[in-house]
Each structure stands twice: as structure tokens, then as C-alpha cells.
């Protein structure tokens, strides 16, 4: 990316943007499973 003119800060922002959904989907998934799993 740097070779084609991206600034370092923009690469950092893009990395943040594309890595964030890796977090986002997991609490949603985990809480959904927890909410539908009855206590024994």
C-alpha cells in the first residue's frame, strides 16, 4: 500500500476498520448463545 501512495496513518486507520468487526461479531454471538442456553 505504501508503494502506491498510502500514508502510514491511513494504513493504520484501514487496519483498525477491518479488524474491528472481528471483535463486534463475537460479543453479539456469545451473548446470543448465553441468552438461549438454559441453566441446568
Amino acid at each position: 500500500m505504501a508503494d502506491v501512495g498510502w500514508f502510514t496513518t491511513a494504513i493504520v486507520t484501514l487496519s483498525r476498520l477491518v479488524s474491528f468487526p472481528a471483535f463486534q461479531v463475537r460479543p453479539v454471538h456469545g451473548l446470543e448463545v448465553l441468552s438461549r442456553t438454559e441453566a441446568a
Binding site: V12, T13, A22
Partner: protein
């Protein structure tokens, strides 16, 4: 579906064992570049000294939001899991994702009290399938790794197992949040930096807090 982790280690230059080492691939801000906005985003001033914050602070708004989530998930221990078990979830996730440096930092925190150190070392050395010697720890590791997998494998059994060992819903929420946060952290840092062999690391960097 048997999809390998998106960020699975593959480069031949990676170390073959888990150590406390790593260095950014892109240039961090130098000490003269950060503005007051950058410093505010770090929340804790000491973080400005680590290369792994000096790089992401290039985007201070994103870093500040993330740092607040970090502190809420790991430092707010009024309810839910003890800190050590949150760090254990992070250690397992980092080991699973091949995140060398972070795995070691969390291992150190999870190994308090120090009687658990050997168990944590074994987790790092042998991988997330190892028996930690503690049923509850094994349940935390299994649940955290299942949540970190791509696609996500966390299911009812990962709620039932810690519950059967006394975990409350608040405890399980903490496993979920800790594992989710470090899946994110691992992915971000694996894209911005690369693990390196310890002997290539400047001594001044050793022992710093890391990439959280």
C-alpha cells in the same frame, strides 16, 4: 466447515516458540510528533513509550474508543471473572492466533498467583489443547478459543461447561468479552507488526507492556 484462521502464522521468519518479542512493521510517531490529542487517546501516559501504542495512536479517536473498551473489559472486576481468568482467556486466544508477544504479556498476568505459572507456561508451549490442570481454567480456555475461531465455534457447550463448574452469567460474559477483545487485538497487531526473534530486539524494548 474447516476454515483455517484468517491470520494463521505462515511466514518462515516467525519464531518457532512463544516469547516476549515483536516489532511494528510501519513507522510509529516519534516522540516529537504526538499532539495533546494523541496523548489523550492513550489514556495512560506510560503507553506512549511502547512502540505498539506509538503506531496505533496515529489514529487517536479509534485508539481512545478501543482503550476504553480495554479498560472496561479487563480492569472492571467488581463483578464477574477475576482478573487472572480474563488474562487466561486472552492468553489462550493469543496463543491460538499466533500472537507471540501478547501471549506472553497475558501469561504473566494470568500467572498471578505465581503457583499457576507452570500451568500458563505449558499453555504457551504446548498450545490451547493442553490440560492446564484446573477444570475451570480448561473451561475458560475452551470457551475463549471457540469464540476466537473463524468461523465462530462458541456454542451452548461452552456456556454449559463453565456453568457446571460454578461460573455465573457475568463470568461467562467476561470470558466472551476478553476473548473477543483479543481476537480483535491479535488481528490488528498481526496486520501492523510481525513477531521477531528475541535476539533482534533492542534490549530497551524488552519488558514493556506491549500491544494492548
Amino acid at each position: 466447515m474447516n476454515t483455517p484462521p484468517v491470520n494463521a502464522p505462515s511466514a518462515s521468519h516467525r519464531p518457532d516458540h512463544f516469547t516476549r518479542a515483536g516489532e511494528p512493521r510501519l513507522a510509529p510517531l516519534t516522540e516529537h510528533e504526538p499532539t495533546s490529542r494523541h496523548r489523550e487517546a492513550l489514556v495512560e501516559e506510560s503507553r506512549a513509550r511502547t512502540p505498539y501504542f506509538a503506531l496505533p495512536v496515529r489514529d487517536p479517536d479509534a485508539l481512545q474508543a478501543r482503550t476504553r473498551a480495554d479498560f472496561d473489559i479487563f480492569h472492571n472486576t467488581d463483578d464477574g471473572l477475576p482478573r487472572a481468568e480474563r488474562e487466561l482467556a486472552s492468553t489462550a486466544v493469543s496463543r491460538f492466533n499466533g500472537r507471540v508477544f501478547r501471549g506472553s504479556v497475558h501469561a504473566r498476568l494470568a500467572a498471578r498467583p505465581a503457583t499457576r505459572r507452570e500451568d500458563v507456561d505449558r499453555l504457551l508451549a504446548e498450545g490451547v489443547g493442553t490440560d492446564t490442570g484446573h477444570l475451570r481454567w480448561n473451561a475458560v480456555v475452551r470457551a475463549a478459543v471457540a469464540l476466537s475461531a473463524t468461523p465462530v465455534e462458541f456454542d451452548a457447550e461452552h456456556v454449559a461447561e463453565p456453568r457446571s463448574l460454578g461460573a455465573t452469567d457475568a463470568d461467562i460474559v467476561d470470558i466472551v468479552d476478553s476473548a473477543a477483545f483479543f481476537t480483535w487485538a491479535n488481528r490488528l497487531i498481526l496486520s501492523l507488526g510481525e513477531p521477531v526473534h528475541p535476539h533482534t530486539l533492542r534490549a530497551s524494548r524488552a519488558g514493556q507492556e506491549g500491544d494492548r
